[in-house]
Symmetry: C2
Subunit: 140 residues, 2 copies
């Protein structure tokens, strides 16, 4: 799968998994909802409490080590020829919820996810600059 | 969600995502099919070519840094109260396909996945000793 197709499939997915790692190289993994904006992926933290937010391992990891990977995939038990995945490798940074750019990210997220229209994610926004889109499809 | 429930949900899932990291702490992410056996997770590589196998980044990463994370999750666009995820953090090691223990892993995988009954995964087997099961459910 070429990088344009990997980006297209990733951007159309509804959920992805965000892998970060601490400075000892221990990986951490959580599912995220997201919006793709060119070669940038936005995601946001639902938790509003600053103290709780600073304790989230994904955020501590990104602050210490900005290298991240995001994965969207399709699994189908009865037809392994339909399997595919698409990955975004990149560099993450954290935006304060009050940053004007964070509002742009929340707008894009609200466009994609109905629950965010009523209750925008109040916490830290994560911007991931994608340096590589890659993917695989069993049917290729 | 307690660790027993996280383990139960993870074990019942059909696909998980495996996060590894290289010695620079750069995370890598692929979807995997798997079998849970107590506090061990088994997965295997489909590729039979030894040279190609040694180039797989997940295997190079594990050889250099055994810390891994696996994630299973449920996403539902129309009902965010149904969301959940379950994670296994642990230590991975690689088994040669000819290792007798690798045959036990292939048997468990073939029990769970019909395509593996006709064509068992011929490559390296990955054993992950789970040190922590954790999870989250929106409904909790």
């Amino acid at each position: 799968m070429d990088s344009a197709e990997a980006r297209r499939r990733f951007a159309a997915a509804r959920v992805a998994r965000l892998a970060t790692a601490d400075t000892d190289g221990r990986p951490h993994l959580v599912p995220v909802v997201f919006a793709v904006d060119g070669d940038r992926v936005w995601t946001a933290v639902d938790d509003v409490k600053p103290k709780a937010t600073m304790h989230l391992r994904r955020l501590r990891n990104i602050a210490a080590n900005p290298a991240v990977a995001l994965l969207a995939d399709h699994y189908q038990d009865d037809d392994w020829t339909a399997l595919w995945w698409a990955r975004a490798d990149g560099t993450a940074r954290l935006l304060d919820p009050a940053d004007p750019v964070a509002q742009h990210a929340r707008d894009l997220l609200a466009e994609r996810y109905a629950p965010y229209r009523d209750a925008p994610p109040p916490g830290v926004v994560v911007a991931i600059d994608v340096v590589r889109w890659s993917g695989w499809a069993a049917a290729d």
